[in-house]
Symmetry: C2
Subunit: 459 residues, 2 copies
Amino acid sequence: MTTSLNKLQNLYQESKDGALKDFFTFLKFESVSSEIEHKEHVLQCAEWLKEYIAEMGFTTELWETSGHPIVFASYLEAGPEKPTLLIYNHYDVQPVDPVELWESPPFEPTIRDGEVYARGAEDNKGQCFYVLQALKLLLKRDGTLPINIKLCIEGEEETGSAGISEILKHKEKELQADYLAIVDLGIRKPDKPAITLGVRGMVTMDVEVEGSDTDLHSGSHGGIVYNPIHALSEILSNLRDANGKITVPGFYDDVIPLTDTERSQLNLDFETMEYQTMFGATPSGGEQNFEPLERAWTRPTLEVNGINGGYTGSGFKTVIPAKAHAKISCRLVPNQDPHKIGKLVADHIKSLAPEGIKVDVDVHPGVGTAVRSDVSSTIIQAFSQAYQEVFNDKTEYIFEGGSIPIINELAKASNSSVALVGLGLPDDQVHAPNEHFGINRIEKGSLIIARAIEVLVGK
Amino acid sequence: MTTSLNKLQNLYQESKDGALKDFFTFLKFESVSSEIEHKEHVLQCAEWLKEYIAEMGFTTELWETSGHPIVFASYLEAGPEKPTLLIYNHYDVQPVDPVELWESPPFEPTIRDGEVYARGAEDNKGQCFYVLQALKLLLKRDGTLPINIKLCIEGEEETGSAGISEILKHKEKELQADYLAIVDLGIRKPDKPAITLGVRGMVTMDVEVEGSDTDLHSGSHGGIVYNPIHALSEILSNLRDANGKITVPGFYDDVIPLTDTERSQLNLDFETMEYQTMFGATPSGGEQNFEPLERAWTRPTLEVNGINGGYTGSGFKTVIPAKAHAKISCRLVPNQDPHKIGKLVADHIKSLAPEGIKVDVDVHPGVGTAVRSDVSSTIIQAFSQAYQEVFNDKTEYIFEGGSIPIINELAKASNSSVALVGLGLPDDQVHAPNEHFGINRIEKGSLIIARAIEVLVGK
């Protein structure tokens, strides 16, 4: 163990109780960015965060957007001859439903078995919080930071980052950096350090299928009209063939297969039994001629994220609904243009409308392109060493199937090379009921961020 | 116009204001039988109805069931040498959602353009109410009724009539009758009298499709697991072929095609433009090798009445849900056994489960067999004459695609021959927002019921 790491660990132990209290305050804000009724909560969370970071000694500001604001902070005491690291997090969270499946209320953080349970505990408040603790540790020890640090913490990651995307071009000067760390990723196992070399892009859309002006009695009209639930089911099932391949014409046209070198850097081992135990699910979805992790990491997908139509309450209602709806997301790989794919999917869905059925597709403007990092870059190597020190094990390289829409735009605006890091675990239940994050990972994360910063200046 | 009809009309005019007030009281009870939170409202409605009929001079009682009670009433002053007519209605109503589409609150009856808007205005409180007004007219005029009348008004028609089905065998003596009038049907156009010669049977079921123990992030898991919404869509779309034929093995095995004579008695004319104007829908559903009304009246159907899974709120949530659900109903024709069909459909659905997906089907116990009336029977001929007198036009014969699950069992228990009558219209919005019923149909219905009773004793 390095001397520096040792000192940081001791410092962490001294401050951890106060830190946990602050973390709970952060988690209690109901900063659900997709739900209009939470707009004020999102703003309150941003303001609290700005104040918290200002108290650390950073210059802070809120950047207004068309949606929720961005918390921007900088500490530039190291001076222009030292490198600048821009760190990205987000303070907004996913909706909480089905809320009845939470064992403790989503916005009342609760510790069970060393894990903090709350919406956002991992994604991304937990990961944002240990970044701040890392900076506090360094500041406490040295009174200053060895490199220049900028923090960009947005409030619309869960809804597609439309706001930050709009204002990036006006903020290129402020965002200028040498390195960009996106701290919203994870590792595969609690004891194995890992850095993510790529994430998928994304485009999302709403589908509305309409069969009549009003709900109809399924006795009087059953057999006459085309039931929009039938039409929607048929359209959705027609988007995939029997082998799980997406049938939208042109969907795979721009996909560049992995090279042998790229493939050899990745650990594609998939433990089916462990997956089954963890999620109660088998790897039976997706394209059958690829391995499970190849499908999730390196292939584009199309998933229906929500469907509804007709009567879905208790009991029964013999109705043919006027309309049925679905929400669809496509995950994309490098070289796929999300706008192009969105249009291809929307056009194909509309072309599948049966006679008598009107189909509308609303492709959402917030999209993201896929990202790939260069394993030999300075920033990846710095984090690789930091992870290795803290875990005392060799860092592995993985991919992530999820998306962080803004990465490429942010890397371009800041003119920096990017590292995708974090300490999420596959069973953290992000985007699901009972999301949680280990208290020990707050410590590990603080140490990794602090050590990576030091390694960047050769410490 | 007959003298008797003329007198009845004058009497109706004298009493109509008080009657409308009583009708509104009846409509205000939130007697939604399928929703447990309305159990007390259903009971209050039954008790009010019992009291209302008792005040007319009938002997009344509430028959308890495992679910909601039945209002039973009798007036047997005509004596054993006179025929007995058993009249069936129901006082329970459908749920009101989507409640935001109602122009006036569903349980605050409101008159617009001569129509009463309320849940149950037609189905079946309106039709039940004019039966009671008919009896009041005759009692007011003559101080007695010319035949024996029994009323059976149940509270579970909209949920499959399980309660009445259970107790029928214990009530055969009380229900004994010569004729049975089911007053829950309709006519095709406001000015054309029509009697229904048959209704379809029904079996309903809930389908649950499960892919994992918990909701999963569609980025991390998309391409790995089998999305249960995909599985459900595929299963549902596999239940019908490209021509709208149901693909469940054995589904049509017991269907007896219409004879040429039966077909010639029916008016199968379908006015596509009028249907389009009325419902904003085209007759593009169902089996393509049958005419629209043949499909709705004489062919079995399978309709999905509700579907839900994943995130369906505002904005977006990139989730692969643990489960997805659908509600299915099959409408059946004579000689089809609903229990057999329910099992065939459930077995077929389960056989369609893809690898990694668990499928459960819960076939509901409340079912109904299809009904056919004999056009030459005394009761049909009596109603045919009564409709003709009131409308001053020849009565036509139609079918109804909907179901009244209890008819055959009630006909058997009461040992009577059945007539399916009523004054519903295709655009009454039954089972939908803004259900309504014309005040002029309260009058016509009162007169038809009263005249049919007189015709049965040669008056």
